[in-house]
Symmetry: C2
Subunit: 376 residues, 2 copies
């Protein structure tokens, strides 16, 4: 299929030099070995690799194995604990707060989602706020765990501050993604998985590497003026909330991002706003933390808590079918159902393998060297 | 205070001719009398008036008594049932589906929210999907019911189709608002209450009356091209999702709107997408309904299901204080915390009364005439 350029914020662009393609099982074993090498137990290594590989399979290249060396660098700095004691610190029948013990978010978030699912199984819904965690990969992975159990899944996380609120030129919020996932019948699940900024950082990085200007409305310079310079972030600029400016509703993007921040961190006891620790190892976390690590918020609701599953799925299929059939301006471009491009990427990569760009292969092979693991 | 023009999508604009100001108790009694006149019982009339007046008090003039004659016209057409038998049709300990029996959403939604709160009180969280309802006023009213009980409140509703998905020029979705409300300590609650379109219909109506062009990115014409013509909707155009175009993330606004539609209607058994009945009485509902009436989705989570209330509130205050102190481009304009303008409007109108524009006073006095109630 032809992906509309820029449709998904971090879909691997065509202009990259792809220097190799690898099968899913090969990349999975390699990734597990790296996690084992930094001290993860078997179960954690398998799980962390599964989250990363799923991202690469779904075409979200910015959140897959491309991030592996970044996790290792944070482990080097002792900011990621590869042997976490993840535990519930507070709960009711349908709510809980989990402390991730500075573990990989790739491990902590599925643990928390499993609790949400178990609570939902018993009482109809389950909600888990997580503190003391790290980057959790793609939100969709966690939300889809619920979908497999005939539940509606929710996942969100706060993130390093890169986004300025409306009227501000200070980086106060992360790109704070939110994900809602709904099971369907004959169609794949509907998966809304989105950064609450106008454009995610991954999209900006693509423009940086390509040396291309970005559209107005993605970023502002240090003075708060729109700029098309993809390097503006490095010069004190900031990303803009979804809506881009006040006139087009950036206060709504700010509101959504604030919602993610509050549910993920104020509720759980993690760091929020400008106190969220940076994802990159070369920047130190603030020395006046207001909580522990970064925060997530995960939830599950049983579909049959509201109506019989088959009825719901039939109407989901009807909803999807009707939206796919909506009139469009361009005969060659129908409405894209949320989650559809990722599903198509998954089918394509299952068949044709996962393309990896030069820089990522180099990065991964350096890790292989360091840990004495076979190269890609 | 000076409201930033266009900050809130439907704040009463300064250029209106205000021909009277009325106190809150006067307008409340008048409104209750209209609801009694169409056959509501005392409790329902009080409640429906409370929702509308709260909207006027909060400065959301488009959702207050300005809509009263519209509700009456729908009652005339037997599309609103003033004596509904509202009931739970499906439930688990923490989830429920409510059938509103074609009642006023102003009455049905608080009924459903009360159920969510009772479930949350017992089990930590409560979630209610509603079908067979009508327009429910401002989302914030319902979400704030939870905040009063030291809970986090959620409220959303689907609405008559006016918005086209990304790539489409067909009206498939309503402005589908979502609201998240969080209790704070010394500060007022944080209330994110937003249409998931770039601009709400009320904002467009203001431009229509003023004969002014609207910014590019709010609407498109029938061919799917951006237009600044505020009358484009009447000529087959459509509103655009938050993000405005694909490049600026309109697929995210579409995804959020889809989420509201699915939770409110596919889950509850209401009409969804283009099948949602129009709010105006002169347009008939589709003759091939896929469900009953319009749908809402309401939820409540106990703060102390995650951490002690005082701890949460202290951190909310810290969050709010930090965001209010964020650097801004303009010394006179600080970051606006979601919900702050509405709180300030409420304080102002409590002191100075509620301003009503010519057209609304005329409309209300015609109702008074019809039902033999004292004029304003």
């Amino acid at each position: 299929m032809e992906y509309p350029i820029g449709y998904h914020y971090n879909f691997c662009p065509k202009f990259y030099l792809l220097n190799m393609t690898i099968t899913e099982p090969e990349l999975r074993v390699f990734t597990q070995n790296i996690f084992l090498a930094i001290g993860c137990n078997d179960e954690h290594a398998r799980l962390a690799a599964d989250v990363l590989i799923r991202s690469d399979m779904r075409g979200i290249d910015s959140h897959g194995v491309a991030r592996l060396s970044g996790y290792v660098r944070l482990w080097d700095k002792k900011r990621i604990n590869s042997k976490p004691n993840i535990k519930i610190v507070h709960q009711t029948p349908t709510t809980a707060t989990v402390d991730g013990d500075a573990g990989l978010g790739l491990v902590v978030a599925p643990f928390a989602m499993q609790i949400a699912i178990e609570k939902a199984d018993k009482y109809g819904s389950g909600w888990v706020a997580v503190r003391n965690s790290n980057h959790f990969g793609i939100s969709a992975y966690h939300a889809l765990m619920a979908v497999e159990q005939q539940m509606i899944g929710f996942a969100m996380t706060n993130a390093s501050p890169l986004v300025a609120p409306t009227f501000s030129n200070e980086r106060m919020l992360g790109t704070n993604p939110m994900c809602y996932a709904f099971p369907a019948g004959k169609y794949p699940p509907v998966v809304v998985d989105m950064a609450t900024s106008a454009a995610a950082n991954g999209k900006l990085e693509i423009a940086q590497r390509a040396g291309k200007p970005v559209p107005e409305g993605w970023i502002q310079d240090e003075h708060g003026n729109f700029t098309t310079d993809p390097h503006a972030l490095k010069k004190g600029g900031s990303l803009l909330p979804l809506g881009s400016d006040k006139e087009h509703g950036s206060h709504k993007g700010f509101g959504l991002s604030a919602t993610v921040d509050i549910l993920s961190a104020v509720l759980s006891g993690a760091n929020y706003g400008p106190w969220v620790p940076p994802f990159v190892s070369f920047l130190d976390p603030p020395n006046d933390p207001v909580g522990l690590g970064i925060g997530h918020f995960l939830g599950a609701m049983r579909v049959d808590g509201f109506r019989p599953v088959e009825e719901f799925k039939n109407h989901m299929d009807n909803w999807i079918g009707r939206f796919k059939a909506a009139k469009t301006m361009n005969a060659g471009q129908s409405v894209i159902i949320p989650g559809e491009p990722e599903m198509e990427a998954e089918a394509d990569r299952l068949k044709n393998g996962i393309p990896l760009v030069d820089a990522v292969v180099k990065d991964l092979n350096e890790l292989a060297n360091r840990f004495g693991i076979g190269k890609l």
